[in-house]
Symmetry: C2
Subunit: 90 residues, 2 copies
Amino acid sequence: MGRVVVEVMPKPEILDPQGKAVVGALPRLGFTQFSGVRQGKRFELEVDGEVTSEVLDAARQAAETLLSNPVIEDVVRVADASEESAGAVA
Amino acid sequence: MGRVVVEVMPKPEILDPQGKAVVGALPRLGFTQFSGVRQGKRFELEVDGEVTSEVLDAARQAAETLLSNPVIEDVVRVADASEESAGAVA
């Protein structure tokens, strides 16, 4: 079974209150290395067969129309992730 | 300036109502290729200097403690993304 990963981030010029909350909380927990945080979304789309270029094209279209709001978000990645095992930390 | 990407997904056994909503909407928009959708989170952590192994270790710790809820979510990726340009669709 194939899997396509779609990743969406808020555009740089858009305020990101969730990211702001995280960047405020990090130093209170002892993480002082990070100067900024942006929070976006990651979708895993499952495909019954293989991830062909048609499937990737459909995923790209879905990413631009349904999975992201193009006014405030950028699609930063649409990729075949059939080989990636969920739960593995790279 | 460096950047670390942290990706978090709901555990497979956890219900994901956002993913369910997306998988229900896809065929109504003509996307019939996808049999399942899971929705998770993607964080971009900015670092003033380079992304050293210490920074990656701190990001991994932050991912497990602040950025994810280990009861219901898995950290699926913690990686140096300094080279990735935001907005590029792979």
